[in-house]
Assembly symmetry: D3
Homo-oligomer: 303 residues x 6
Amino acid sequence: MSVNPVSQTLPILPKLSDFYVDEVIKAALKEDINYIDVTTDLLIPPESQSTAVMTAKSDGVLSGIEVALRVFGLLDKDAVVTFSLNDGSPLRKGVKIAEITGNTASLLKAERTALNLLQHMSGIATYTSLCVNAVNGTGVVIADTRKTLPGLRVLQKYAVLCGGGSNHRFNLSSAAMIKDNHIDACGSITEAVTALRKRAGHMVMTEVEVNSFERLREAVAVGADIIMLDNMTVEMMREAVGIVAGLTDSAKTSQNRPLLEASGNVTLDNIREVADTGVDIISIGALTHSVAVVDVGLNLSAV
Amino acid sequence: MSVNPVSQTLPILPKLSDFYVDEVIKAALKEDINYIDVTTDLLIPPESQSTAVMTAKSDGVLSGIEVALRVFGLLDKDAVVTFSLNDGSPLRKGVKIAEITGNTASLLKAERTALNLLQHMSGIATYTSLCVNAVNGTGVVIADTRKTLPGLRVLQKYAVLCGGGSNHRFNLSSAAMIKDNHIDACGSITEAVTALRKRAGHMVMTEVEVNSFERLREAVAVGADIIMLDNMTVEMMREAVGIVAGLTDSAKTSQNRPLLEASGNVTLDNIREVADTGVDIISIGALTHSVAVVDVGLNLSAV
Amino acid sequence: MSVNPVSQTLPILPKLSDFYVDEVIKAALKEDINYIDVTTDLLIPPESQSTAVMTAKSDGVLSGIEVALRVFGLLDKDAVVTFSLNDGSPLRKGVKIAEITGNTASLLKAERTALNLLQHMSGIATYTSLCVNAVNGTGVVIADTRKTLPGLRVLQKYAVLCGGGSNHRFNLSSAAMIKDNHIDACGSITEAVTALRKRAGHMVMTEVEVNSFERLREAVAVGADIIMLDNMTVEMMREAVGIVAGLTDSAKTSQNRPLLEASGNVTLDNIREVADTGVDIISIGALTHSVAVVDVGLNLSAV
Amino acid sequence: MSVNPVSQTLPILPKLSDFYVDEVIKAALKEDINYIDVTTDLLIPPESQSTAVMTAKSDGVLSGIEVALRVFGLLDKDAVVTFSLNDGSPLRKGVKIAEITGNTASLLKAERTALNLLQHMSGIATYTSLCVNAVNGTGVVIADTRKTLPGLRVLQKYAVLCGGGSNHRFNLSSAAMIKDNHIDACGSITEAVTALRKRAGHMVMTEVEVNSFERLREAVAVGADIIMLDNMTVEMMREAVGIVAGLTDSAKTSQNRPLLEASGNVTLDNIREVADTGVDIISIGALTHSVAVVDVGLNLSAV
Amino acid sequence: MSVNPVSQTLPILPKLSDFYVDEVIKAALKEDINYIDVTTDLLIPPESQSTAVMTAKSDGVLSGIEVALRVFGLLDKDAVVTFSLNDGSPLRKGVKIAEITGNTASLLKAERTALNLLQHMSGIATYTSLCVNAVNGTGVVIADTRKTLPGLRVLQKYAVLCGGGSNHRFNLSSAAMIKDNHIDACGSITEAVTALRKRAGHMVMTEVEVNSFERLREAVAVGADIIMLDNMTVEMMREAVGIVAGLTDSAKTSQNRPLLEASGNVTLDNIREVADTGVDIISIGALTHSVAVVDVGLNLSAV
Amino acid sequence: MSVNPVSQTLPILPKLSDFYVDEVIKAALKEDINYIDVTTDLLIPPESQSTAVMTAKSDGVLSGIEVALRVFGLLDKDAVVTFSLNDGSPLRKGVKIAEITGNTASLLKAERTALNLLQHMSGIATYTSLCVNAVNGTGVVIADTRKTLPGLRVLQKYAVLCGGGSNHRFNLSSAAMIKDNHIDACGSITEAVTALRKRAGHMVMTEVEVNSFERLREAVAVGADIIMLDNMTVEMMREAVGIVAGLTDSAKTSQNRPLLEASGNVTLDNIREVADTGVDIISIGALTHSVAVVDVGLNLSAV
């Protein structure tokens, strides 16, 4: 992986709430420790102190460093942690990420849970960053989806931000997405959007999923905020962009036309081509549903 | 992916407890629905009934079908579900997996959570199955690790079984793994194993991680139950197998010698080569930490 | 209270998820029963069956009937419930709302929790309905706020819908509201909105809170989706409506101009006057933070 | 509202347990933040520090100050809080209640949850205090009921104490209340009380609800600890007091006669009249079920 | 153990709430199953059905039968359970208690948790019953204490009722117990009781712990509801009973004098002697803190 | 009880995880405090500070001191605790165990929960220690079982370690135990063990329960890791030891033969006799299911 300079400006990142993060970590520790660490608890002297150094074992983008370090803090209140890199930073193989000094047994018990979280989140940030870099200069936004893993949506969506990506709606309450079944139930896109605008709150953004130019035109006409081009070919997307421009040409800014979102079958191989069609957003389920970890190591040495 | 006939005999699978599965699903639904489905709840007539057909969109191995179908049951107690394939079954692109008839709005709300679970679990089963098939005939066991995602260990380890794999220890309490830090703290492998045997319960299996032949010999001598060959080359593994055979030749069966587990840097490309060294077990973190989904679709039609 | 015919057409209502509702009810029952009902458990014969009739003791709008009836179901799986009125229906003093037949002891234990929920939710729906009716014909939307009670937001926001009102953003994640502190931190409304548009996801609606005409003009110019007129007098609101119309007159529909939301110091006494200024939305914290119950009675008779 | 000097002596108040309060707050924060504060997290510089001043915007009685300040502590461990007024203190419009210095983003995220709790609890304390003051000099106790909101009973009952009121039984386990259904099931008040005395533990106080003088006499005769006069007119209550005095005149102190509790239809308009009948306790559901908030503001300024 | 005919009349028992019981059971099952039953899930054919017969293996009193049977229901919704004995029934070694027919694997997984609950609860009921029978004819009540095991108080207090005993206060909120530290803080018993009566709600029963006759007289004088004779000798208790009788002789019934509770060092050996002193209640921590199980067996046979 | 010098060397003990222990304690405090301590909160001045001294009131072995002291810390963050004895230490009646200085009201509220935990855990450690001492010199291991109380398994198994005992499998996932039903389902011990070895993970230890010498021989032949002699007489056990020795005499060390576990009907009276038969392990359900507390007192004095 090659992280180009574009991503050197770290993204603005939200602060995840401690009470949420702690809950995920405690669940993970309960799963992994359960009762005791039968090896560590019975072999490592309880007074032993060590320093653990966390090092990148491959290139990528960092995500979850505060989450991972919190694992150590939850098992050893007196652990001292320092980290050299913030979330969103590019990782180079061999670079030191953080250092933790504390009770040896606690460090060993925390290790796996901390790395499981950090490696997964960094995996998401890394793949997102590759996508973001691939469309560099086009102004296209790379967005995630609701295809996340149960219980991990907050961490996964945050990791997408770390990689320079953007979050699609957080859940079914936070924005509307009108799909085929909704259109069928209402009779038409026009009727569906009209009904929703009347029934939903004024803070609800409305996206319409279309798979034909006819539906695209209808969605533009009824004033959808965002239009998803569902599983269209690159050629179709290019034509869709033209159609929307034609229908909204009197309005000069993006404020006044619906945003176009490409979705489906986008990979690193074709993402630039998709971006070049002029769509505004490319949403990619694989950012969160098919993630390969970034390898991170932890080495302990006696204090 | 090509699933060869070896896996046609479905593995013996445990039954996951409802109370556990329901808890994971409810957490996922809370995350995804939160308050209401602002699109579906406001556009789909509440009395509408539909049938949803679940279909494989790529080849693979099925895992999580009962978990996924339970999602529909939790949102619509009267939903009728039938499934054509059991967990562990090979999937062919286009094959029908299951059918659910029930309240349309509930089906739409359940869809994403059900598919997120099913696709992830089937992804694990599929990759596991590829590994298992790759070592077909060698008698080598493909095992998972503790490199799982927080809150999902039970589902992930179960999915490994669906793919024909085997579970390594479930957590830090259930078996012992003596690593470098433990050996250093005790002085030697011999001292570590001896101390643990004295202090740990009699139901605790003991594995020792070694990275040299000297340590390997010591581990055999002290009677470790399993020995992990940590990040060894294929050549080293082959030699390790020979060393252990030599040390235990008077004992004819595997009962009387430690099992050898290969770990680290094993991919589909080299797994057969590793298996052919004569090791007993190959453990692979990627089975659970770097999983690509198997694509599954859901189509609704009015009843 | 007088519920005029306007509200006779029941609102389209979402279906709250059972797993959410059950959790609230179980928490309430634990709080109220704790161990046993020391009176009922020791005095009422366990085999005794009764029919309980739920009756409105004052006028209002019904909300929470399914929630309330679920309380009885959780304490007596075999209870038979029938209800004569749906959520959103007007209530007249004396009208029968529902009937529950089941185990007498369970009915008595469920009574208080069921009524506490129903009376509170109906209180919200009733006050909302009064506000909605007061602006009848103006097209103004009555919306709630985030001024809800801990743990009850879902039920309270749902009750607002039952009264014909509309939901403002559900939480801090689901939409943006730029207030003074955000503007100060960024330097100006323009900078704040521009920064947010760049950093937030494309499904995030943006509202700006203004307290002067200068800020109002700036918010319109930068294209805010919604503008909140914060604690303005009726005269100021009227002028604000004119300003926005002037700035956006080339655009004929509400699609092309920001919505205006009035907030602060709105009561039943002045709500019509506020609505007549031409604002689009009136948001009222009191809908959920200062609710008087609608009185509902429950009478048991032996089966 | 006018808080007369009577309440200047602050009530003796229990200390609510942190673990309970934290649980309520975390649930509220999860509801309100969910994932991130999309406005604050993306616009406020993470290193920004501010001081927030909490000020009463109307008169009343304070309740929940430690609860509210704990919200800030949970989002910013290093926040420094100081408060000028204790729970139970009278509030004058414009008076400063507390000051919090800490991370600006955390202050903004905590604000709504803290105020929602404080305003609701102070609303309860304020209304209770009005009732208490209205009966000043009569010795009558103002008590709450079980008509509380799900999940909030502890906070609501505590707020009643802050207003100078008294708590009725906490739940169905902690004391007995014999109502019509129990009397019917047992045959008579005498049989019900006798059976309960025999079956319930010796720490269970027994109250009997009566709606006629005949039942009142029976309740006195059987030695009920407390007798509730259910929905009686003021005239009936006065007569009831006389009847009980007549039946127990040989016993001089309140120790030796049942306490009389008035319940139903008591408002600020008639509460003094009710108190003057000579009843011992007036219980009022509206203390907790129909609460209007006390308005409290929070203003931030840069440190 | 010999259960004499006195206990043949089963006590009136409360119905424990399903939502509470289910929570305890699910926690227990999670603890005991965790992931899978590695023996049963892999060896017992999933379609196998069996009948399990539950039999007493020693004499005693039954408690927890519905709780225990619920364990089977939670693991196999279709299990059919029938029970021959109700809670509170005497058990004879060899007698059949219940029969469960269902999925063999589920029966095996439920067995340990069900028996752990039933044997513990029956152990409590049995020991309680022995105490109750030992004081047969004296009218003395045998009561439990707050010396219960974390998380199990509801089940343990219920089991005391099954054995014919009575419940002391359920928790620190439900009634008052004035001990040395409270007396010291207030200055005297008189001041403590007076202060509490003024500050606590009217439904709070007040008990005073005394260790001298002087304090006893003071407690009687101030009108304590119950007086605990703390660690007194049998002789002292007898004298205490006389003192109280003397002080209250004008009042003929127990209504008009405080109840006397003996506490401390009471065993089956001296309980009759203690009861014969004339105290009203004997409270015994060992009922719940030092319980020996009643042995119950479960045998499966194929259907 | 007499604790002989054997146990003076304290056992190596694991550190229980704070997040687990805190959860148990909070559940216990919620159960015991619920709302407020109606006595302490209303009578003890909130600023009062005291020192509490914890003293053994009988001989035994200490377990749970850190757990018990944590209770005080959870109610008073500023409490200062010091303890003189570690878990596993012998207790002599009258010896001081620990001292806590802090808020008086918090000390009083924590007292019961802290002692309930400490006395129960020390009771387990004490009985375990008696068993361990009784077999002193034989090399026999005293092990617990799965007969634990719901929700308390971690604390109970830890207490067994404090008493010098050993833990049997933690749960149904962590090791396999083949019983009659499994053998019947598979056809024979040989088939059951063989099937399990093939299906279960390589970290799963396998124990077989036998009740006849024929089955014993079969279990040895098939290479069971551990064999449980179920409810055998002492004579049978002795013979069983001889049989196993005969079958495995060519293998000199315990490494090469199955361990023998005696189970059923072992008491302090016959435990030495059982140990002298030559079995390796004696497992005793009563260690955790029928525990008598060790009495510990807590005395407060003003600071």
